[in-house]
């Protein structure tokens, strides 16, 4: 916000639900005049942000919980995404929609939404999914700088992850996958918090002599298929772990692309470890069971080696 006064923050409850909201309070002191806490009308303030972006601002909107974006869907998917193309290239919409997706413990069905699979089907939106402190800072800078409407998919469970963050404010470009852990036996592709789960699984599998390569695409649009294919060329075995529901989920599109373009590189079928096709139950043990858990990931990796 210091770099560009056109950046405005809409919806001041940024981190308010989590114990980390003190972080947000000092932002308030510095940039108070460029932050508004609108009423609970997602349709209204996402429309306001989209309109403001058309008129030259670069607003960042926080929808807090992923499931709440459905209320603003017409403004995000119909207006923001289409404006540039429908106007024949005359109207830009540099807006960032930030949300926390996925299973957070007790969120139940209406607070654990992961809308990025549906949004990947919307031409005109860029989608970024950070999985580490370094990525979140670098990708966020690119998102704000981008002239396209961007969905910034965050995860509550990432807030406590610690990691080195370079002092330089060099943005991380979209469309560049990141090999989080090198390995020769199985290519394990994951996004957002699931990357951390996969790194845990990879460590345990290493003890069993299985070297897993953890690949994090970091953005769905644009999507770095090349890096993934070069990894598949090495391992010939693929497992994809992701928190969106299985049917038409993020893993489905990734699997389809690899099956189409990497057919000759595969020695076995691509296995997906996604959230089951059930509404998210409240009860903690049920919820803990349905997501891409460490055990389910390890099981899939072992199966890929047989």
């Amino acid at each position: 916000m210091t770099a560009d006064e056109r950046v405005h923050l809409i919806n001041g409850t940024f981190l308010s639900l989590s114990p980390h909201r003190h972080v947000f309070q000092d932002l308030q002191k510095k940039f108070g005049d460029r932050m508004i806490a609108p009423p609970i009308s997602e349709l209204g303030f996402c429309g306001l942000a989209t309109g403001a972006a058309m008129a030259g601002l670069r607003p960042i909107v926080d929808l807090s919980t992923g499931s709440f974006i459905y209320e603003a869907w017409p403004q995000v998917a119909n207006e923001a995404a289409n404006a540039f193309s429908m106007s024949g290239g005359q109207t830009r919409v540099p807006v960032v929609f930030h949300l926390f997706h996925g299973l957070r413990g007790g969120g139940a069905a209406q607070h654990s939404g992961s809308p990025q699979a549906m949004l990947w089907n919307v031409p005109g939106l860029e989608i970024a999914l950070p999985s580490s402190p370094r990525d979140v800072k670098g990708l966020f800078k690119t998102a704000v700088a981008s002239d396209n409407p961007t969905i910034f998919v965050d995860h509550i469970r990432l807030l406590d992850i610690r990691g080195e963050v370079p002092e330089s404010d060099k943005p991380i470009p979209f469309g560049v996958a990141d090999i989080k852990r090198a390995g020769g036996d199985v290519t394990l592709i994951a996004t957002s918090y699931t990357v951390q789960v996969c790194l845990g699984a990879a460590q345990k599998l290493a003890k069993e002599g299985i070297e897993v390569e953890v690949v994090d695409p970091r953005t769905l649009v644009p999507f770095d298929l090349a890096t993934i294919l070069s990894s598949v060329e090495k391992t010939h075995r693929v497992v994809i772990a992701d928190e969106t529901h299985q049917s038409c989920g993020v893993a489905a599109e990734i699997a389809a692309r690899i099956a189409e373009t990497g057919f000759d590189k595969l020695k076995t079928r691509i296995r997906r470890v996604s959230t089951l096709d059930v509404p998210v139950p409240y009860s903690p043990p049920l919820e803990a069971h349905i997501g891409p858990t460490e055990s389910r990931i390890m099981e899939a990796v072992r199966a890929a080696l047989i």
Binding site: S67, A117, N121, H245, A259, V278
Partner: protein
């Protein structure tokens, strides 16, 4: 068997169900006046305006009302004029209709049918020509059906209305005027069952809704070159009938998937991902998808035609598959 248009077949299904079950109500903008495309023409005169309920232009709340009514003993059919407007009712559909049965531990049931028009017909631009079925196929708790011909339109709509779960019935506007044989009387087509439109040996073409026609045409053209193509219409995209498709692919060893929606994140991705898991070792060539490019639907008619998958694109994809491996 009598011949009917796709649109008349839908009206016939609505009429039969309205007569069969007094709990069936039809909601939507101007439905009592025949609806924007004339699908409900004449029904209000027979069944009364209290059962064909004209609603204001408030998609979110009208969807909520029909869900509430469904949970309170009615069996509503709500019409959303264009699938592009489903965006306004996403919260009620995704967060409430799809989840209430599960979240209530089975206490509540939502026997609701959501009728939606989709697809390209007549250069209407990006807000009136989209195919967004993949969004809905991603939601556990919803069933999604997409008939490609009059007989399936009638059969699937009857099954949808009788199903005790929320079913999204997507009719393609471009198919309204197409004709086909429709058996009269009780002809419920089961939800979740694909149909083999044409037997073949060397390649399986899975074609959805409006793409069934071009796929059959492509198959005919391929036959002239001595290539025997099997054409399958999934008819239901959630739950997907993977067994029928897999058994065909195990026979032919090659597959292409065709749909009008954009390729990225489309239902084709799910079919490819499932088939490469079920029939990996039978595949002699990579599975290919023939779908719209990743762009909003342009308005200009020529761009629109370029945007649509066509018979030629299907034939070309099939030839590529056959030269591989």
């Amino acid at each position: 068997m009598p011949e009917q248009t796709y649109l008349d077949a839908i009206r016939a299904a609505l009429e039969e169900e309205l007569r069969r079950d007094s709990a069936v109500y039809i909601f939507g903008e101007d439905v009592a006046l025949g609806g924007p495309f004339g699908v409900t023409k004449g029904l209000a005169e027979t069944f009364g305006v209290h059962r064909l309920v004209n609603t204001p232009i408030s998609e979110a709340t009208v969807m909520g009302i029909t869900i509430g009514a469904a949970s309170a003993g009615l069996r509503p059919v709500v019409e959303i004029m264009f699938i592009d407007f489903i965006t306004l009712a996403m919260d009620q559909l995704v967060n409430h209709a799809a989840k209430l049965h599960y979240m209530s531990g089975g206490q509540l049931s939502i026997p609701l049918t959501v009728r939606i028009q989709c697809g390209i017909s007549g250069a209407m631009g990006a807000h009136h020509s989209q195919s967004l079925e993949a969004w809905l196929a991603h939601v556990p708790g919803l069933k999604v059906v997409m008939p490609a011909n009059p007989a399936d339109a009638k059969g699937l709509l009857k099954s949808a209305i009788r199903d005790d779960n929320p079913v999204v019935f997507i009719e393609h506007r471009g198919l309204y005027r197409t004709k086909g044989e429709v058996p009269d009387g009780e002809t419920a087509v089961p939800i979740g069952k694909a149909a083999v439109l044409r037997q073949g040996e060397q390649i399986t073409i899975v074609a959805l809704s409006s793409m069934a026609g071009p796929a059959l045409a492509a198959a005919k053209e391929l036959e002239a070159d001595g290539i025997s193509a099997e054409v399958i219409d999934p008819r239901t995209i959630s739950p997907l009938d993977i067994e029928t498709i897999a058994s065909s692919v195990k026979k032919t060893g090659r597959m292409i998937v065709v749909h009008e929606a954009v390729e990225q994140g489309g239902i084709g991705a799910e079919i490819v991902a499932r088939i490469q898991r079920e029939a990996f070792y039978y595949l002699d060539s990579p599975i290919a998808r023939v779908a719209a490019p990743f762009a909003p639907v342009p308005a200009s008619p020529t761009l629109e035609n370029q945007f649509l998958p066509s018979k030629d694109k299907i034939v070309e994809a099939a030839r590529v598959a056959l030269t591989h491996g």
